[in-house]
């Protein structure tokens, strides 16, 4: 069911559909919330129901109670994410400091979107990925992330601690295993810190002070319970659950009910006012939420009073207070996000929403450092915009000119002048020119794609080989079509090279620099279509596509799933459009030819005409039609150059995009294989342990360590490739939008120009027609 809802959700079109979105986020959020309970502490799951029922009382229907508006969720998320990351951050200083670096941020965001597809996995993934940048944490997190596959987790847990294999417990093990490897003390410390912090910050507001009491109690109990428990025997389980029951009731279920209920009010107010009335929450809430959030929050707190338990109301009030504090941040962020494209936006929403649920327990009380994650995302935003600006200001102009035939016969080839103008310090001089032949371009692509495709980069592909076109040129026919072919290829090569150098990472590649600068380029090998290497390449490609088919990737990231679908659909549409534009070019050429024929025929008719004025007019008409022929011809050329070529480029580029997706899939497969291997090794170890063969045990343990390292490595690879692919795709889309816009405008201008010409011709003809007497 959850899968279904998540797959239905497409990247919401921001900002137009601002209203429906809260619903989505809310849905997802409550989903996550549930999962979290499933994840961190199983017993809590039982509490979910009462919590929901609480909200049920106040709101008429369950789904409605699950609705929430993003700003509020952000609010909640802040303390939440803080809570989840804080202990770790405090524990290990590195991740905290590195938290602002780009890869880290990206990684952070991933689990958020993954959360929607496989909630359980995400939960575990989340802390895992957060820690993944710090080696220390990695070790801790490894089991946690592996917990994503349930059976394996069981396995893992058994050796890790002596706790029972009861499914309920398994998830609890995760923190437990943390404890095992780290001294338990620090774990509690951060929590305590947080609690210590909170009064300080909340002390400023009188209301906030109130709720501090119960939470701190809870925390005292809870962490010790939580972390101590796994090491206890099975019998402790019963007791533990009972202990959990009480604090949970207050802390988890009710705040949650509150959390879900309040946002819902906002949401109602914006979108479903009548419904909100039905749930008798909304009396005085009348103003626009975005404009007067403070009012709403405080009012809500009051309105919820009668329906909820007293503690809840207190909590809700603190929430209100929090919101007051955090609002500037949230809205600042929201406005920034508006300017970004929607997928990213969506992602961030999820990201924000996710942690909120993941640690909803301490959420209401932890507020001191709540705003931390927010600046982080802001930073990210700034980073991206900065990067954009840098890209725009690229001081590098590349042009390809003077295609020239070198040699004779079948060994002839076209050489192109590649001129570079730059102010970049990485080049030796400001302007330089080299001569390159087509196969050099292909060679450059081969080199780049060998190096960068592995990392998930989208390497722009060069224009295709055309044996037909080239043979014509080689044979030396100086006709129209071969000149057109050369020009088309020249332009395509230019665009290709420009795409390469505009790619910030590819530009750094020494091969690119060499290609642009070096005078005597070694001849590129293995680019011939019919060579042995070409044949090998073909075989490789075939096996690749075969293995691709065999990989059944259990896609855990909706973003990638949706993007891949989008790319495939787009590819199809572009191909169709390309065919259409080709047919337009064909028809336009036909029109040109027919117009020419008509012009000649009319000229003949004019010569036969015995009325002098009419004869003159007819020959004028013939001239106009002659020009028209030229005009149609030119237009057909610009149809083809501006429009069809653009489409062809992007069909090729989409191929590269897909290749990067494939690469990601391959790294995933490698990671999975390694995991399976590790599992096998562990099974062996368990067997050996059972058989009590200590001599081989050491070997098995070594194996496990080795494979654990590999799994970590591969997983990191996968994460890295995923992050790269995501970044690349976003970059690609941005480039595409810019490119398309530019080309469309260029194309329209060509159309405009030919219409202007047309007007000129006919206006010149009009007096001639009028002169017929």
């Amino acid at each position: 069911m959850k899968m279904a809802t998540s797959s239905e959700r497409s990247p919401p079109p921001f900002p137009e559909d601002l209203e429906p979105e809260p619903d989505e986020v809310g849905d997802q959020d409550s989903d996550d919330g549930e999962d979290i309970f499933l994840g961190t502490d199983n017993p809590l799951e039982i509490k979910m129901d009462p919590s929901l029922s609480v909200s049920d009382i106040t709101s008429s229907t369950k789904p409605l109670s699950e609705a929430s508006s993003p700003p509020v969720m952000d609010l909640l998320s802040e303390p939440a994410s803080e809570a989840s990351s804080a202990p770790m951050v405090d524990l290990l200083m590195e991740p905290a400091s590195e938290g602002s670096s780009a890869p880290m941020v990206d990684i952070l965001s991933e689990p958020a979107s993954e959360a929607s597809s496989a909630p359980m996995v995400d939960l575990l993934m989340e802390p895992a990925s957060e820690g993944s940048s710090a080696p220390m944490v990695d070790l801790l997190m490894e089991p946690a992330s592996e917990a994503s596959s349930a059976p394996m987790m069981n396995l893992l847990m058994e050796p890790a601690s002596e706790a029972s294999s009861a499914p309920m417990m398994n998830l609890l093990m995760e923190p437990a295993s943390d404890d095992l490897k780290e001294p338990p003390k620090p774990d509690i410390d951060p929590l305590a810190d947080i609690i210590n912090d909170t009064p300080l910050s909340e002390g400023k507001t009188p209301v906030a002070a109130m709720p501090q009491e119960p939470p701190s109690d809870l925390f005292d109990d809870e962490p010790s319970e939580l972390f101590a428990e796994p090491r206890q025997s099975n019998t402790a389980k019963q007791q533990q659950t009972s202990i959990f029951d009480e604090p949970d009731e207050d802390l988890f279920s009710e705040p949650l009910g509150e959390a879900s209920k309040k946002p819902q009010n906002d949401f109602f107010k914006e979108a479903l006012a009548p419904v909100a009335k039905a749930s008798n929450v909304c009396g005085p809430l009348s103003d626009n939420y975005n404009e007067h959030p403070t009012d709403i929050f405080t009012e809500e707190a009051i309105t919820t009073l009668p329906s909820a338990v007293s503690t809840v109301s207190v909590n809700s009030k603190t929430n209100g207070v929090h919101s007051d504090e955090e609002e500037p941040d949230i809205f600042a962020e929201a406005t920034v996000e508006l300017s970004l494209d929607s997928p990213r936006n969506d992602r961030k929403k999820k990201e924000a929403a996710k942690p909120s649920a993941s640690a909803s327990a301490p959420a209401p009380s932890v507020s001191a450092s709540a705003s931390k994650p927010q600046p982080k995302t802001l930073e990210e935003v700034q980073y991206i915009t900065l990067e954009e600006e840098v890209e725009d200001k690229f001081e590098l102009n590349i042009s390809i000119t003077n295609p020239e035939k070198v040699g004779d016969g079948m060994n002839a080839y076209m050489a192109y002048k590649v001129s570079t103008q730059t102010t970049l310090p990485m080049f030796r001089s400001k302007t330089f020119t080299v001569r390159r032949r087509f196969s050099d371009f292909l060679g450059l692509y081969e080199k780049l794609s060998d190096k960068h495709t592995l990392n998930g980069y989208i390497v722009p592909p060069p224009p295709e080989k055309s044996i037909m076109g080239m043979t014509k040129v080689k044979v030396g026919k100086e006709d129209n079509s071969s000149a057109e072919f050369v020009e088309r290829r020249r332009a395509a090569l230019e665009r290709y090279l420009q795409r390469v150098v505009f790619h910030p990472s590819l530009l750094q590649d020494p091969d690119v620099r060499e290609f642009l600068e070096r005078d005597d380029m070694p001849r590129a090998h293995n680019t011939q279509a019919l060579s042995g290497a070409g044949f090998l390449k073909m075989i490789n490609r075939a096996t690749d596509s075969l293995s691709k088919m065999t990989i059944k990737m259990n896609e855990s990231d909706v973003w990638f799933e949706e993007k891949l679908q989008e790319v495939e659909a787009e590819d199809q549409q572009l191909r169709k459009l390309h065919i259409m534009v080709d047919s337009l070019v064909g028809h336009r050429k036909e029109l040109s030819v027919n117009t020419g024929g008509f012009a000649k025929s009319v000229a003949m008719l004019g010569s036969s005409e015995d009325n002098t004025a009419l004869s003159r007019a007819l020959s004028q008409l013939a001239e106009v039609e002659d020009k028209m022929e030229q005009l149609h011809q030119e237009q057909a050329a610009s149809d083809s150059f501006c429009f069809a070529e653009l489409l062809a480029d992007y069909i090729r580029l989409l191929g590269s995009v897909r290749a990067s997706f494939d690469q990601r899939m391959k790294t995933w497969q490698r990671w999975q294989d390694a995991q399976n291997m590790l599992q096998k090794k562990r099974e062996t170890e368990a067997k050996l342990l059972w058989a009590n063969k200590p001599d081989k045990l050491q070997q098995a343990k070594d194996d496990i360590t080795e494979w654990e390292a590999k799994v970590t490595q591969y997983e990191r690879d996968f994460d890295r490739v995923s992050a790269t692919v995501r970044k690349e795709v976003l970059r690609f889309e941005k480039e595409k939008a810019r490119d398309f816009k530019k080309q469309i405008i260029k194309y329209l201008e060509s159309l405009l120009q030919s219409q202007q010409q047309l007007i000129k011709y006919w206006e010149a003809f009009l007096p001639e027609a009028k002169a017929i007497a």
Partner: protein, 434 residues
């Protein structure tokens, strides 16, 4: 300019009616709709009249075809007459006529001996719905490969094309009658008056197989005859000139007509391509979620608009240019027929001269031969006289019609190009602004 816009409005109106009727997928069935040509305003009618002939505005006999009904292969025209002539019983009346009735009238006129010296207006061509029908068929086949939107647009385009053909058919029939009505002699023809007045179905018999063969045979004889009599020395320089001119002109204009048709057809293809491109761009924009989405939408929208203008350009070129050439191709054929009849009469006269000489030699049947010779001479003189008149008026008519159509066409071309420009400029500005 303004007139054209009104016409556009009318056309739209008709198109709407047609679309209502064209709910069925099968175009043949949906042929059954009424064209409310009567909704067209005066300017439209004036345009219709001026398609290829310029007629003197004689108010004594005004004929138009206010509406027509198309069922399967048959087209039923309502012929409306308004007259002040006393030879008609009523001043205002309408009768239903089919295409075959027009053919009958034409044939009757051609066969009338008295009109041998006149250029008989060419018979309207048979309603030809083959091309849109064929296209419809193709469209049905290609339905699976098209998006729904694309299909709908193509169908609309086809319906519009079908409608244009229909309208053209009505026009050529109307023009035929109007040329007759404006002719001083032909307008008084008995058959013509019956055609206009008889309020029942004329139910003219179709030509049976024998007759069809007969007319074919007659044509053969005529062409053979033409070759034979071409050896006869022309006595009149005027006719000598006219003959060479018409022969030359006829072959040239035939070529031009064919080429103009080709040109307009490929122009239509271009307009059709715009539909596909627009539809594909649209579906591309649906999938897109980046900033490009809006651009693509605008681009698709622009193509949709461009396609309409381009389609208008194509159909206007067809109406103003191809139809003009086609009509004069037929008219020249009629003029050539007149020349043939005159040449035949000349040959007859020469023969009768020879016969008279022979009779004088033999001193036998001299009076008879003299009579015959006189008759032939009279006939020839009469033909020559009226032929000269007809050909001169034909020349004037042709020049005026060409002038009018060429002016109208260039004005339309300019207008459409300006429309296109405005669309393009608007779109470019929109794209540049965001």
């Amino acid at each position: 300019m303004r007139q054209e816009e009104q016409n556009g409005g009318c056309f739209q109106k008709i198109a709407n009616i047609a679309r209502l009727a064209a709910q069925h997928d099968d175009l043949q069935r949906c042929c059954t709709f009424i064209i409310m040509t009567s909704t067209l305003d005066d300017s439209e009618k004036e345009k219709a009249r001026s398609v290829s002939v310029d007629l003197n505005n004689d108010a004594s006999l005004l004929i138009d075809i206010p509406d027509a009904l198309c069922e399967r292969d048959k087209v039923k025209f309502t012929v409306h007459t308004k007259t002040t002539l006393s030879s008609f019983q009523k001043p205002d009346f309408s009768v239903p006529r089919q295409h075959e009735d027009f053919i009958w009238l034409h044939d009757a006129l051609v066969e009338t001996e008295d009109y041998a010296g006149l250029i008989i207006p060419p018979a309207p061509p048979k309603p030809d719905f083959e091309s849109p029908r064929e296209k419809m068929h193709k469209l049905g086949e290609g339905e699976a490969t098209m998006t729904k939107e694309e299909y709908t647009k193509m169908k609309q385009e086809l319906e519009a094309e079908y409608l244009a053909v229909f309208k053209k058919t009505v026009q050529v029939h109307e023009v035929f009658l109007q040329r007759l009505s404006s002719h001083p002699i032909l307008s008084k023809d008995r058959n013509f008056q019956i055609f206009l007045e008889y309020d029942q179905d004329l139910s003219v018999r179709r030509k049976n197989a024998k007759e069809t063969f007969g007319s074919f045979f007659k044509n053969m004889v005529k062409s053979a005859d033409e070759v034979i009599i071409s050896g006869i020395k022309e006595v009149d320089d005027f006719f000598e000139q006219e003959k060479t001119f018409l022969l030359d002109y006829s072959s040239k204009i035939k070529d031009s007509t064919a080429r103009a048709e080709k040109m307009t057809r490929s122009h239509k293809n271009v307009a059709d391509d715009y539909i596909h491109i627009s539809a594909t761009l649209n579906s591309l924009s649906v999938d897109d979620n980046t900033a490009l989405k809006k651009h693509l939408e605008k681009f698709a929208d622009l193509f949709e608009k461009l396609r309409k203008v381009e389609g208008r350009v194509a159909s206007d070129e067809e109406l103003k240019l191809t139809e003009l050439f086609r009509y004069y191709m037929l008219d020249i054929q009629a003029a050539k027929d007149l020349l043939y009849r005159r040449a035949r009469a000349l040959a007859d006269y020469e023969n009768s001269n020879k016969a008279l000489d022979k009779a004088r030699l033999k001193s036998k049947d001299i009076t008879q031969a003299e009579e015959h010779q006189q008759q032939c001479l009279q006939k020839f003189d009469k033909l020559s006289e009226s032929g000269k008149r007809e050909l001169t008026s034909f020349k004037g008519r042709r020049v005026v019609a060409f002038r009018k159509n060429l002016i109208e066409m260039s004005e339309l071309e300019i207008k459409h190009a300006k429309n296109n420009m405005a669309l393009l400029q608007g779109c470019i500005e929109l794209l540049k602004s965001n």
